[in-house]
């Protein structure tokens, strides 16, 4: 099933953070992590399906922020807490385009 660009990017970021959690999960909780290489590979594979413009924008943001994509809650960017223009939210949910916060530049994801 076709996934939108923002969906792919969200999963991409989820996997990225997952890989960052591995040490804590292994050392503090005791989960086995033998598939780390496999997941790194899967993450690389995903890049093929992400539009190069979005992927490079994501990677640029990743050098500055831990979370290049942030959720929008009550019309607010949860990265920098700037209020987003109201016209933004309606568009963000309907479109396949990727919206970025005018204040901090992070990509936005409407959870609700």
């Amino acid at each position: 099933m076709g996934r939108s660009q923002i969906e792919l990017l969200v999963i991409y970021q989820d996997i990225h953070l997952m890989l960052q959690d591995t040490e804590k999960e292994e050392a503090n909780i005791g989960f086995s992590m033998e598939g780390k290489e496999k997941l790194l590979q899967a993450k690389k594979e995903m890049e093929k399906n992400i539009d190069i413009r979005f992927l490079s924008a994501y990677k640029r943001l990743a050098t500055r922020f831990k979370h290049p994509i942030v959720p929008v809650q009550d019309g607010t960017c949860l990265g920098c807490f700037a209020k987003l223009p109201t016209s933004f939210s309606a568009r963000g949910r309907a479109d396949q385009t990727i919206f970025t916060c005018e204040q901090c530049g992070r990509m936005l994801y409407w959870v609700e």
């Binding site: 099933m1 996934r3 969906e7 969200v10 999963i11 970021q13 989820d14 996997i15 953070l17 997952m18 890989l19 959690d21 591995t22 804590k24 999960e25 503090n28 909780i29 005791g30 989960f31 086995s32 992590m33 033998e34 598939g35 780390k36 496999k38 997941l39 899967a42 979370h67 994509i69 942030v70 959720p71 809650q73 949860l78 994801y109 959870v111 609700e112």
Partner: protein, 154 residues
Amino acid sequence: MNQRERAGVFQQEFFMSALKSKTKPDVLEEMVEVLVRTGRVKNKRIVLEAIQQREVLGSTGIGKEVAIPHCRTLAVSSLCVVFGRSKKGIAYGSIDKKPVKLLFLVVGPPIEKTNQYLPLLGRLCERLHHAKTRNRLLEAEDYKSFLEIMEGGE
């Protein structure tokens, strides 16, 4: 696990005493479906994929008939735990190769003010390490008894 720790995390609607699924992919979907039905998850595809990708890292079937599938994903806005039970057991690729009967699906947002996610996973593992807890969970008749088991002393 005290009341504050589980506040809003466990819910009556997230108590599944008799799972229908017989396979790992099916049971993960069945449990995520509950979060969709209760409005906690809008985008099922993202959550399901994140959970499946987490399994690539290593099976969350921790042995002794217990599995704790989990992930952090942008597609949820609050931490939630779904409890599922299968008396017949589900083939899950657990570390001890045994089918699982008790499942806890833990899904949380990546940004979380109270930072509960990893500590909660740790507490669950610790709890489920005790045979007594597992046996009681296998028998728990309703959500109320489930909560008592989860909140009770060691």
